[in-house]
């Protein structure tokens, strides 16, 4: 896999595009006051080529009285490349300095998207940015850099058939945003043998303002298991974890999705009472994904977590021969055993994941960090 550095992009037929609605404020890009729109000119600013012609990725532009819109402009995803970039954006002040409550998200991405995650920026290790900054590859691929950054929302839909994920939160429930709060939007596109991105990448997200006077705050839970290994000599393995809520919390799970790569056969999530190490029964299962490349986003859930309990997840894998042979897989393996072992990593082609995204309410006092 090559990195996403645009200077290496071997497609001279592309032209550099510059969209008219890009606005610079200070060091970065910020809110367009007329449209309430955050616009990130991802590659255009860096002088990188953008694919032309680009069919429009349609999502309405929100005016400040309805919310705010975020747009990552079209960018190139050349053949044989995985692009993972981190875009830093500032929550606009559309509420006279008051917090903004959001009770609906609409997200759309061009076909081929592997994932798109939005986090609230917290502890800074080696990844940071000011509003409008973009970090391409590099530290944007190192997950320890955002391990304690609370999840806002994510989408793994990247199909042309169902381009928009339109998620309305449960009645009276909303996420809180502060004007000026720094968010990081992470976009991962793959254009290789397992996933194709024929038309380049692009992301649009709409954050719709809640009309409820005193909404219940939604919280999120993001978990990732990184010590995983799927080897030729031990082809069928599973990894699972669990994460608990504070003992006094009584939470409802409203939505969930999971993330694994091509060797994953299934990912399940269960409510867990926290009392036993026994695997929860099928009646406790609230999410299952059997599709690594288009995992479902379960919404409309109302799973009540037993007090003092939490969420249990299981990722199941079956080793398979890499499309391009074992060399690239072996090269990533720290143990260098020559056993064609897939280990945790960003590359959808040569590495694996076991990630869990859970949306619940009411939010507990601090974001839940599951490691």
């Amino acid at each position: 896999m090559r990195d996403s550095t645009c200077a290496r992009a071997p497609v001279p037929a592309f032209r550099t595009a510059s969209r008219g609605f890009l606005r610079r404020r200070g060091r970065g890009l910020s809110l367009g006051p007329a449209l309430g729109s955050l616009v990130i000119g991802a590659l255009a600013l860096a002088g990188c080529p953008v694919i032309e012609p680009v069919p429009p990725l349609l999502l309405e532009e929100l005016t400040p009285d309805r919310g705010f819109s975020l747009h990552i402009e079209p960018f190139e995803v050349p053949p044989g490349v995985e692009v993972q970039d981190c875009f830093f954006v500032e929550v606009p002040d559309i509420n006279d300095g008051q917090d903004i409550w959001v009770d609906r998200f609409a997200m759309t991405q061009r076909g081929g998207s592997h994932h798109m995650n939005v986090f609230r920026v917290n502890s800074i290790l080696h990844l940071s940015g000011r509003p409008g900054d973009v970090v391409r590859g590099g530290e944007c691929r190192i997950s320890t850099n955002w391990s304690d950054w609370p999840l806002v929302v994510n989408s793994q839909e990247g199909s042309d058939e169902q381009p928009i994920v339109d998620w309305t939160l449960p009645d009276g429930v909303a996420q809180r945003f502060r004007p000026g709060e720094l968010l990081m939007v992470q976009s991962h596109y793959v254009n290789a043998s397992l996933q194709k991105t024929p038309g380049g990448g692009e992301v649009r997200i709409n954050f719709y303002k809640s009309r409820v006077a005193s909404p219940i705050e939604m919280g999120t839970l993001f978990a990732t298991q990184q010590s995983i290994r799927i080897c030729r000599s031990n082809p069928v393995v599973s990894y699972d974890g669990a994460c608990s809520f504070p003992p006094t919390a009584q939470v409802h799970i409203a939505a969930a999705n999971g993330h694994f790569h091509g060797r994953g056969t299934s990912l399940q999530m269960y409510t867990w009472d926290g009392l036993s190490l026994d695997h929860p029964g099928p009646e406790a299962m609230f999410y299952e994904s059997l599709e690594w490349n288009e995992p479902p986003m379960a919404v409309g859930l109302d799973e009540i977590v037993p007090a003092g309990g939490g969420v249990w997840w299981t990722c199941n894998y079956e080793w398979r021969e890499p499309e391009g042979g074992c060399a690239a897989v072996d090269e990533r393996d720290d143990e260098q055993r020559g056993d064609c072992c897939y280990t945790f990593g960003n590359s959808a082609e040569n590495a694996e994941h076991c990630n869990v995204f859970v949306y619940y309410w009411p939010k507990v006092d601090s974001s839940i960090f599951c490691n």
Partner: protein, 261 residues
């Protein structure tokens, strides 16, 4: 000559388009099926009673036998936070085990975290010595080896063959994650042996005290493990380490004492 050069130039000019055009790429070959499951390898005597003991990975990547009531070091894993690496040494069991381990808060009787995974043991590794992984080619197979040798987690320095039990930060426990006693429980389930309807399962328990043991991150670890550690305040504003760590230990509870609720 000129015609050949023009042809070559044309081919070079067309190459990017060829690469970019989705329809021109050959269909990827259908991957072959994975190898069939192997019959389980038994470490030691298949007819003898299974013996298992809890072990943990030390900060420097070695293995130590876990003592009831003893300290267990926490490390910084790639995913962040602090975890204990708990495994087993065993004999007369299948080489491949599914382990499932968690720690329980004595004050609430609830598990604060747990983790499960497939692990592989290898025989004949001396205690507290770095492991070398699988036997070298030509070395005697497991059946020929002395049966008083334990099987230890393969790749002792790696995190893969231990349960990675998260401890810090914890938003579930009422006490600090470090320097307080917790109940450890580990279940090890063997591969199903031929002729058996159910796989054999073994339960191991101990009281342990997680400790911050990596010198370079000890202060950060102790702050992150405090029961009062938060990522955000009640209004959703991030709370940094600088803001909370200097005073976070002021109300720490004595060892083994539960808070009043």
């Amino acid at each position: 000559m000129r015609a050949k050069l023009a042809s070559l130039l044309f081919m070079l000019a067309a190459l990017p388009w060829t690469l970019a055009a989705e329809g021109c790429e050959p269909e990827p070959p259908h991957p072959p099926p994975p190898p069939p499951p192997q019959e389980p390898v038994i470490l030691g005597d298949p007819d003898a009673e299974a013996e298992l003991e809890l072990v943990y990975r030390t900060v420097d990547g070695r293995i130590a036998v876990l003592e009831d009531g003893g300290d267990v070091p926490m490390i910084l894993p790639p995913q962040g936070g602090k975890v204990m690496l708990i495994g087993v040494r065993a004999r007369n069991v299948t080489q491949q085990l599914q382990i499932n381990a968690g720690i329980r808060d004595f004050c609430t009787e609830r598990f604060i975290h747990r983790e499960g995974r497939s692990v592989r043991l290898v025989e004949g590794t001396p205690l507290l010595a770095p492991l070398g992984g699988l036997p070298e080619a030509g070395a005697p197979g497991p059946r020929e080896r002395p049966i008083d040798v334990w099987g230890y987690p393969e790749f002792s320095a790696d995190l893969l063959n231990y349960a990675n039990i998260p401890v810090c930060p914890t938003f579930t426990s009422l006490r600090d994650g470090d320097d307080q006693p917790y109940a450890l429980e580990l279940r090890a389930t063997e591969q199903r042996r031929p002729g058996e309807e159910r796989a054999r399962s073994h339960v191991l328990t101990a009281t342990i005290v997680p400790v911050c043991a990596q010198p370079e991150i000890e202060e950060d670890c102790r702050c992150e493990c405090d029961a009062d550690f938060v990522l955000e305040d009640g209004q959703g504003r991030p709370v940094t380490r600088e803001q909370q760590c200097p005073t976070i230990h002021e109300n720490d509870l004595p060892f083994g004492v539960c808070p009043e609720t």
